[in-house]
Amino acid sequence: MGYALDFGWLNDALGMIASGAAMTVFLIVVTSVAGTLLSIFGAIGRRSRHAILRKLVAGYVELIRNTPFLVQLFFIFFGLPRLGIRLDPVAAAILAMTLNMAAYSTEIVGAGLDAVHKGQTEAAKALGLRPRIIFIKIILPQALKVIFPALTSQIVIMMLESAVVSQIAVRELTYEADMLQARTFRAFETYFIVTLVYLGLSIALRRLLYAAGRRSIAGGMA
């Protein structure tokens, strides 16, 4: 017996899909900003004079990079309440995503910092700038410029990985898809549409970041 694809449900479902997509976008925006900021501190810690700090950051990075995101998420959402830290699903998702993103981009930002020529620091010192100003105004913008493509890829990967947070009932795109298919019994069509939405989101996100990066970073800051 043949199976006829049916997209008749789609009209009523647009609202759910849109609100799910909005949640996904919200998650990735918060995560990108928080994760990148955290990873700057991570990269500084990785290059600190104190061996303990260096080891601590390295340990955190390796721990996150060698375990699945899903397990990290479950550990934070189900495991941490044992220690008295109880988070609601959205907070747990943001925490897990940020910690995950930060570990990966610590490496990326670090590579960027290393790529900035030593002479830049020396020149800034010769001008009498304070170390903090040198880092924020001279080193960091140049480093970000170098790593922006890699950071963009990481953000897109994180967005795709965020599909997993549906498993702790965060009402994002995949969660809404699960709800929809349970109601319409049109699992294939539902996931097909939602996959297209993800594809669109990842293409749009990449383009947007690329355009924004070219304007703000390659332009004036450095």
Partner: protein
């Protein structure tokens, strides 16, 4: 109620980890085989083949693996195939791996100077002989580090197959957690097992990267 000791939990998790390892190996092998085919299309002289491979890679790299698994799991039965979680998991991970591996190896092929192709043809080798004897061995050698790096990513990705119902490490840990109410221990151990699987490979990748950088 049955009491679970720490060792009961650890033993059951380790037994389940065998499925994670098996799935990783099968998917990596399958992904490598399909990946070579995609690579050949991606570097082909025919425009439509190149374009097709490009879309294939873009599709798998631009959508969540979880959606790919769902589409296979719910889609294949519509085409009349009886499908179990294991089949969908292997198929999904294989296809996804093939896209990523093809893209990694393409980088290797394109980083070789044109002279390698020219030298091959001046020896009278035809296209496939050039690929087999000259180009691919070098491309694989250059890209060994990212290839092993991708294997780590693949091992971690097998965790997602728990969501479509494949009994691997994470799905077993969910069941154990439901029975023991020890999420901290259970998920901590699961993370540890994944770490033990992945970390040596990560170290190996680092070593390969250093070796390449020194050259």
């Amino acid at each position: 109620m049955i009491e679970f000791t720490f060792w009961d939990i650890a033993r059951n998790l380790l037994l389940a980890a065998r499925w994670t390892v098996l799935l990783s190996i099968v998917a990596f092998t399958g992904g490598a085989i399909v990946g070579v085919a995609i690579l050949l299309a991606r570097i082909s002289k025919r425009n439509w083949l190149r374009r097709g491979a490009q879309y294939y890679i873009g599709l798998f790299q631009g959508t969540p693996l979880l959606m790919q698994l769902f589409l296979l799991f719910f889609g294949l039965p519509l085409l009349g195939f009886r499908i179990e979680a294991w089949t969908a998991a292997v198929l999904g991970l294989t296809l996804c791996a093939s896209a990523f591996l093809a893209e990694i190896w393409r980088g290797g092929v394109q980083s070789l100077p044109d002279g390698q192709w020219d030298a091959g043809s001046s020896l009278g080798l035809h296209y496939f002989a050039q690929l087999r004897l000259v180009i691919l061995p070098q491309a694989f050698a250059i890209t060994r580090a990212p290839t092993v790096g991708f294997l780590v990513q693949l091992i971690k990705s097998t965790a997602l197959t728990s969501i479509i119902g494949f009994e691997e490490l994470v799905r077993t840990s969910n069941a154990i957690n439901n029975a023991t109410f020890e999420p901290f221990t259970v998920y901590g151990l699961v993370a540890l097992i994944y770490f033990v699987l992945c970390y040596p490979l990560t170290r190996y990748t680092k070593k390969l990267e250093l070796r390449t950088a020194q050259r």
